[in-house]
C-alpha cells in the first residue's frame, strides 16, 4: 500500500503541502468563528459556534452528550460538510475557500481520525490498515522518513501502542475491539498529522481499559506533536487533558432535538 497522492489533486495540494509561511505557522490548528450549520432537512442550525480555537499541540477534551452535534462537528472539521455561515480554519486554511478535492487533500495530509469503533477495514491486515493514510497522502508518507519507511514507522507505532507483533499481519477483523482501537490510533498518528480528531474512541472498551487507552493516546499525540480533539460524553476521562470544553457551552445550536446521527 505504499503508493502516493492523487495526481489530479496535485495543483490544489501543492498550495497545502508546501512549507507554511510564518504567519501560517503561527495560526492555530483549528479555529472556528461565528459558524453555524444545519443539515439540509433541518430548519434550525444544529451547530452554532461563536468561537473555538485549538492551538498547535494542544490536547482538548470536548464534552458533549449524545445528540449535541458531535458527528456534525466532525464532518465540518473534516471538510466533508461546509457551514452555511462563518469560518472554519484548519491550519490557517479557510475550508469554505477550498475546493472539495482540496479539502479532501487537506484532510488526508493533516488530520488523523479515530472513531468509536469499526475504524478498520476488517479484511485488511492490521499493519496495512495502519499504512492506509500513506496511500492517500504523499505528505504523510514522506513524514515517515525519520523512521526509514512507512512500514518501519507503522511497526514502530504498533510496538509503541503495545500491540503484540503476532497480530500485525492478522486481518483487522479478527482482533479484539481494544486491539482494533490501538491499530486505529496508530493509523491516526502515522505520518505525524498536525491534528488528531478522536470521536468517543473508548466507548467500546471496558471501563478499566478506557483510561489506559486515553493515556496512551495522549502520550503518543504528544510524542508526535499533534493537536488532539477528544470528543466524549464521559467526563471521567477529561482529567489528563490540557483543557476541557463543553460543546453545549460553545454551541448555541438546537441540541438534542434533531441530531443527524445517534
Amino acid at each position: 500500500m505504499a503508493s502516493g497522492p492523487r495526481e489530479w489533486h496535485r495543483s490544489s495540494r501543492r498550495s497545502i503541502g508546501k512549507p507554511l509561511p510564518t504567519t501560517m505557522i503561527a495560526s492555530p490548528a483549528l479555529r472556528i468563528a461565528d459558524m453555524s450549520f444545519a443539515w439540509p432537512t433541518q430548519a434550525a442550525p444544529c451547530l452554532d459556534i461563536a468561537a473555538f480555537e485549538l492551538a498547535r499541540g494542544e490536547r482538548v477534551f470536548l464534552h458533549g452528550p449524545s445528540g449535541s452535534g458531535k458527528s456534525t462537528l466532525l464532518a465540518l472539521l473534516g471538510g466533508v460538510a461546509l457551514p452555511q455561515r462563518g469560518n472554519i480554519e484548519v491550519l490557517g486554511h479557510e475550508l469554505s475557500k477550498l475546493s472539495a478535492s482540496a479539502r479532501d487533500a487537506l484532510r488526508a495530509d493533516h488530520v488523523g481520525f479515530l472513531f468509536q469503533q469499526f475504524n478498520l477495514l476488517p479484511w485488511l491486515p492490521a499493519i496495512d490498515n495502519v499504512l492506509l493514510p500513506c496511500a492517500f497522502s504523499a505528505r504523510r508518507r514522506e513524514q515517515t522518513n525519520s523512521a526509514g519507511s512507512p512500514l518501519l514507522e507503522a511497526e514502530r507505532l504498533l510496538a509503541q501502542l503495545d500491540l503484540d507483533r503476532s497480530l500485525w499481519h492478522q486481518s483487522a477483523g479478527s482482533l479484539s475491539v481494544g486491539q482494533q482501537q490501538r491499530v486505529a490510533a496508530a493509523r491516526a498518528l502515522i505520518g505525524r498529522p498536525e491534528i488528531v480528531i478522536a470521536d468517543e474512541p473508548t466507548s467500546a472498551l471496558d471501563a478499566e481499559r478506557q483510561q489506559a487507552f486515553v493515556d496512551l493516546l495522549l502520550q503518543e499525540t504528544a510524542a508526535a506533536g499533534a493537536a488532539l480533539i477528544f470528543v466524549s460524553h464521559d467526563h471521567r476521562l477529561a482529567g489528563h487533558f490540557d483543557r476541557s470544553v463543553a460543546l453545549e457551552a460553545i454551541s448555541r445550536g438546537t441540541t438534542g432535538m434533531s441530531e443527524k446521527s445517534a
Binding site: 502516493g4 472513531f115 492517500f136
Partner: protein, 425 residues
C-alpha cells in the same frame, strides 16, 4: 497514477473479502457470456459449414421447384425428393459450351439411414469442399464397376465398415422397418473410403449412376415387379443409361458465365428446370432462419443483461454493509470520485473476469463439443479463441457491465456525500 493504483489494490482486496457473493455473480456473468458467444459461434459456423459444402459449385440444377428445397435436396440430401429431371436435359447442360463439368446426382436409396448418392466417377475429381479442397481417399479408390460403393468417412466410422464390406441398399431415403423394400438381391462392395470433409459428403454412400439404374431395372413405380426378376449377373446386358436423375451440380469454365447459364437452364425448352446459385439460395435460407437466429441472440443478450443487473443489484445491496468501509476511506482523504471509482472498478473486475472466463469456457466447450456437432449436425465448429463478431459481443458485455457498475458507483458517491464521516449504519 499511484492513488489510482492504491484504489485499485483496495478494490481487489475488498472484492476478495466478499469473494463468495461476487464469485456467484462472476459465474452467472461467465455462463451468460458463454451462452451468447456459443449462439453466435454456432450461427456463424453453421453458415460457414453450409457454404463450404458447395465450394466450387457454380449452379445447382433440378426440376422446377423452390431454390431452397433444391439446395437442401441436392447438397444436403434432406427433404423429400423433388421431381426428377430427364437425362437428355442433363446432357444438354453437360455439353453446353460454358460448362466445365456437370455432375449428375441421383438420390432416393439409402443404407441404414445413410443417403446413397448415384453419380459419375467425375464426382471425386470435381467436387470441392471447404476452401475448394478436393476429395481425398482415406483408403481404396473411386468406384469404376457396377455395385461398387465409396463411403463418406462418417458412414464408415459409424457403421464400422472397411474396404471389402458387403452392403445392401434399401429403397427410399429412410429405412422403412419391416415394410422396407430392399435391394438385397444386388449387394454392393465397399471399394473406397473418403477422408473427412465436414460436409454432407461424410454421411453419404457414393455409387455409380449405372448401379442405381441396375438396381431398379426390375422395378416399376417404386416397387419390384411381381414375377419378374433380373439377377445381378445379368444386368450388364441392359442399357444402364439412366432415364432421369435428381439434380445436377454444374461447374463453369468462367464464373462470369453464371447468369448466361442460369438463363439457359431456366428457359430450357425440354422441361421446366431451375438453376440456383448456391450462395443466393443459402442467403434465402438464412433469411428464413435469420429471424429465429436473431431471436436466440436477443434472448441470450437478455440473459447477459439479467446477469449484469444481478451484479449491480448485488453491489447495491452490499453497499449498506460497506458504509463503514467507505466512510473510513473518506476520512483517510478519499474523495467522492474515488469512492465512485472503487465501486466501478469492482463491477468492472467482475464483469471483465466473467466475460473472459465465458469466452474461455466457450472455447473449451467448443473444442469438446466440436466432434459431436460435426457428426450430429454436420456443423464444423471452429475451435480457438473468439474473433470478429465475438469480440464485438464481448466488448458489448464489458461496456454494459461498465454502465451497470455506474449505478452502485453513483449510489456510493451520493452516500459518501450524505454520510460525512460517520455512517448511519
Amino acid at each position: 497514477m499511484n492513488a489510482l493504483l492504491s484504489i485499485l489494490k483496495l478494490a481487489v482486496r475488498s472484492a476478495w473479502s466478499r469473494r463468495g457473493t461476487l464469485g456467484l455473480m462472476l459465474a452467472s456473468i461467465m455462463l451468460s457470456t458463454a451462452l451468447l458467444l456459443a449462439i453466435e459461434r454456432v450461427r456463424v459456423d453453421t453458415r460457414q459449414s453450409f457454404r463450404q459444402s458447395v465450394a466450387g459449385v457454380d449452379l445447382v440444377v433440378g426440376a422446377r421447384t423452390g431454390a431452397t428445397q433444391l439446395m437442401l435436396h441436392a447438397v444436403f440430401h434432406s427433404g423429400s425428393g423433388a421431381l426428377p429431371l430427364r437425362w437428355d436435359s442433363y446432357q444438354a447442360i453437360a455439353t453446353h459450351p460454358a460448362t466445365d463439368w456437370a455432375l449428375p446426382l441421383s438420390l432416393g436409396d439409402s443404407h441404414r439411414n445413410q443417403a446413397v448418392l448415384g453419380t459419375s466417377a467425375d464426382y471425386f475429381r470435381h467436387f470441392r469442399h471447404g476452401d475448394r479442397q478436393p476429395l481425398r481417399f482415406r483408403e481404396g479408390r473411386p468406384f469404376d464397376k457396377l455395385f461398387e460403393a465409396v463411403l463418406g468417412s462418417e458412414v464408415a466410422e459409424r457403421l464400422g465398415y472397411a474396404n471389402g464390406q458387403k452392403i445392401v441398399l434399401s429403397h427410399g431415403l429412410t429405412d422403412g422397418g419391416a415394410l422396407a423394400t430392399g435391394h438385397d438381391d444386388k449387394p454392393f462392395v465397399v471399394v473406397g473410403i473418403l477422408a473427412p470433409t465436414g460436409t454432407p459428403v461424410d454421411r453419404t454412400i457414393h455409387v455409380s449412376l449405372e448401379s442405381i439404374t441396375a438396381l431398379h431395372l426390375d422395378w416399376v413405380a417404386g416397387t419390384p415387379m411381381s414375377g419378374f426378376h433380373i439377377p445381378a449377373a445379368m444386368v450388364g446386358k441392359f442399357d444402364l443409361t439412366p432415364k432421369e436423375i435428381s439434380a445436377v451440380l454444374v461447374g463453369l469454365r468462367q464464373r462470369t458465365d453464371v447468369f448466361r447459364m442460369q438463363r439457359f437452364v431456366n428457359e430450357f425448352r425440354g422441361e421446366a428446370l431451375i438453376a440456383v446459385l448456391p450462395g443466393v439460395a443459402l442467403d434465402e435460407l438464412w433469411q428464413a432462419i435469420g429471424i429465429m437466429e436473431r431471436t436466440l441472440l436477443g434472448v441470450s443478450a437478455l440473459v447477459v443483461l439479467i446477469g449484469l443487473c444481478g451484479l449491480a443489484a448485488t453491489l447495491l445491496a452490499g453497499l449498506n454493509e460497506r458504509r463503514r468501509e467507505l466512510a473510513i476511506l473518506r476520512a483517510l482523504g478519499a474523495g467522492p470520485g474515488q469512492i465512485f471509482a472503487l465501486l466501478m472498478i469492482e463491477g468492472m473486475l467482475v464483469t471483465t473476469a466473467g466475460a473472459m472466463l465465458g469466452a474461455l469456457l466457450v472455447s473449451f466447450a467448443g473444442a469438446l463439443a466440436a466432434p459431436w456437432l460435426l457428426s450430429a449436425f454436420g456443423i464444423v465448429l471452429n475451435p480457438g479463441l473468439p474473433s470478429g463478431n465475438e469480440f464485438a459481443l464481448l466488448a458489448g458485455v464489458v461496456a454494459t457491465g461498465l454502465l451497470a457498475s455506474m449505478i452502485p458507483g453513483w449510489r456510493a458517491w451520493r452516500m459518501s456525500l450524505a454520510d460525512g464521516l460517520t455512517p448511519r449504519a
